[in-house]
Amino acid sequence: MDTMEMIRQLEFGGEVFSFDLLSVLKIPIIFILIGNILFATFLYLRVRILSDTYKTPRNKTIKQMMAMHMIAVIVGTLLSLLFVILT
């Protein structure tokens, strides 16, 4: 019996306390995913402002990097939501 199995079948005063770990973890995962999208959006907006304050030729690369990050986060979030719903 592994550790998680033992946690799942905790016994309190003769009654077996069991819960589904996955359903408990689903809600925080969805919140984290939404939070991550918001974070990526705020970061993108901040970079847009800062690139106007501090002007360097690398700003273009940074903006491209931020756009790629944004796409990666959105695709990752959609995939995660799909897997979370499937499980």
């Binding site: 550790t3 770990l21 995962i29 990526a40 901040r46 690398r58 990752g76 995939l79």
Partner: protein, 206 residues
Amino acid sequence: MAKRENPNLIPKKFRNLGKTFTENLTNKENPYFLPFPRDLSFYGKEKDEEVVLVVRSHWIKYLPFVAVSFLILFFPFIFAFLDTTFSENMVLFLAFFIPCLTLSLSVIVYAFIRWFYNVNIITDKRIIDLDFTSVVSHSLSEARLEKIEDITHKQLGLVGSLFDVGTVYFQTAGATPEIEFNSIGRPRVIQDILYDLLDSKKKGEI
């Protein structure tokens, strides 16, 4: 990137000052320490204003972000080790791994952006401290060279001693709050550069 060791790349007005700061500047070019950058500018830069130095914080300041990022990335593997259902069910594992991957990526990107936009600029007219404090805030402080009254640098703790990292404080006249160049490498070099610049400014050489 062009090397600045070539004395011809030092702007004309700094070449014959006879100060130690030009030697300090030209010998140490790296991404944290950019002397006389030709292609850099900032909002409100005057036409005749010359950027002397751009300093960024030391990489050690961002090491906790890298550590957190790796910890988040390994989190699903720790779960898989503790619970066999995670390792047996691929869809379940991916449902945890992909959010952790995107979160880990966000932490790394955030650390990089913080490093890139946390810049301290020294020009022949003023000092500028751009602080990227969080995704929802940033601050920009500046002080004219003639307003600087005192320069102090402090190196604290084991990290400061190991990596030669410290903070330079600029006391300015008037109601302007104190400007800080946080967690920069070789803070004494910045202090020397500023003292020489202030001296040249007072003598009207620049």
